[in-house]
């Protein structure tokens, strides 16, 4: 039976490095995904991910468990992403082609799915990446945490240090912008209808 995050954190705080590495293995992909979607660059997202775990390891003694370990990691990663964006002084770039592999898609496709379906899916993915990159940072972060990481409104509010209603407003505004942006791409979405 695998240990819980809390158990692994307690053992790590006692100096057990293997326990911390188990936490790294458990959370490296979600943290990398968060960083990638926030800053849009594969290499930099990987650097942010490594730096997140390094900072977490160094600060582990001070982690008292008031929040979940994952929320704590997310917060560190988001701060690093924010630093990256300010340092680079630019909007995140849309790098969807790197993230969408036609071959991978083809292998995942159901037999009924044609190559046209795969290409359409890839195009939607690229449009989403571009639209997300154009969102204001706070709206983008709220959408990423809600949509891709399944956090509750309260968890997001705690993480971003803002009221619950602000989180909902950011989500509403962000989704509205995305809706307009994606509707502009109706050219490739011929025959694609929102459910």
């Amino acid at each position: 039976m695998s240990s819980t995050d809390e158990e692994l954190v307690a053992r790590s705080q006692g100096g057990d490095m293997d326990s911390f590495n188990q936490l790294v293995m458990r959370w490296e992909r979600p943290i990398y995904a968060l960083a990638y979607r926030t800053i849009g660059r594969e290499e930099d997202a990987r650097d942010v991910c490594q730096e997140t775990f390094l900072r977490a390891f160094r600060a582990l003694k001070g982690f008292k468990g008031q929040a979940k370990f994952s929320s704590w990691l997310y917060r560190i990663a988001l701060n690093l992403c924010r630093d990256w964006i300010r340092r680079e002084r630019r909007q995140p770039v849309a790098q969807a082609p790197e993230g969408v592999d036609l071959i991978e898609l083809a292998s995942e496709a159901t037999p009924a799915e044609t190559i046209e379906d795969l290409v359409a899916r890839q195009e939607i993915s690229q449009a989403v990446a571009r639209a997300m990159a154009g969102l204001p940072e706070d709206q983008r972060t709220a959408i990423i945490l809600k949509e891709y990481h399944g956090l509750t409104f309260q968890e997001i509010a705690d993480m971003l240090d803002c009221p619950l209603s602000t989180v909902k407003t950011r989500l509403y505004q962000g989704l509205s912008v995305l809706r307009r942006q994606l509707d502009r791409n109706t050219g490739f979405k011929a025959g694609y209808k929102h459910v």
Binding site: N21, A33, R37, E42, F57, I103, A109, R179, H194
Partner: protein, 264 residues
């Protein structure tokens, strides 16, 4: 009154009890909110298509006392970007230029009983043609041959003449190569750019082609599966018919036997 917070909560299935019932009541009477909800569900479906690339890291925290500081965080899988440096690109371009120069110079080395023969330049396959001789309307320039024979078999003067010929050939070849290199260096960036573009285009085409083929294979497998199922069903049908016929024959046989036994 349309409440956007409630709409967002409802969208993420986070509205419960009386609040949910109240919003559902509002939705029944508000076409605007219904449309907005449907559109946002569509946006959420689109968002699911965006996934990050598969990360190729596998770093672990290790004890600093056991390793050098540089290895505290260690990626196990180096990125291709790590080795694809401008220097590597230039080296690759240089190899291409040298290969092209060697191809143009057509360097050939043969070994026979007399020793090694180094040949440069374009020559006809038939060795009997004289200088300037032509065949079939095409001029054939005789190649420069330098034969390195076994010492002692020739006189010293012949040997010196051949060494001089080899030096001349080498100088001429070097001049050609130098010119090619200077020209290549001047256009290194362009060549690299073109090579990268070509590689990128080729990779893209191959990926698309492979994706199409995989998709076709999947469709073929599916079609084959459907055909197999049909065949199995047909076979089952035939077996059913055969069993029914056999059962009928047996019933008739049993009836005949019963009739005969009654008559007796």
């Amino acid at each position: 009154m349309c409440n956007k917070d409630d709409l967002v909560s409802f969208l993420y299935d986070d509205l419960e009890g009386p609040a949910r019932a109240a919003f559902e009541g509002h939705l029944r009477g508000c076409a605007g909110c219904r449309d907005e909800l449907a559109a946002m569900r569509g946006v959420r479906a689109d968002l699911l298509t965006w996934s990050p690339p598969e990360p190729d890291f596998a770093f672990r925290i290790v004890n600093e006392s056991r390793v050098t500081p540089a290895a505290v965080l260690r990626p196990n899988v180096p990125s291709w970007r790590a080795w694809f440096t401008p220097a590597a690109g230039l080296a690759a371009a240089a190899v291409l230029v040298l290969a092209a120069a060697a191809g143009l110079a057509r360097v050939e080395i043969h070994k026979d009983a007399d020793g090694f023969t180094v040949r440069t330049g374009w020559s006809a396959a038939a060795p009997s043609l004289a200088d300037g001789e032509s065949r079939g309307g095409f001029g054939i320039t005789r190649a420069q041959d330098v034969r390195l024979g076994v010492p002692g078999a020739d006189t010293m003067s012949e040997l010196e003449a051949r060494v001089a010929a080899l030096e001349t050939a080498s100088r001429n070849g070097a001049n050609v190569r130098n010119a090619a290199m200077l020209s290549a260096r001047a256009s290194n960036e362009e060549v690299l750019k073109v090579v990268r573009d070509l590689l990128s285009q080729s990779e893209g085409r191959q990926k698309t082609e492979l994706a199409i083929r995989i998709s076709q294979v999947l469709r073929d497998v599916d079609a084959q599966r459907v055909a197999d199922l049909n065949r199995v069903q047909q076979g089952m049908g035939r077996m059913d018919a055969s069993i029914a016929t056999e059962a009928e024959a047996r019933r008739e046989l049993t009836n005949i036997i019963l009739t005969n036994s009654k008559q007796r």
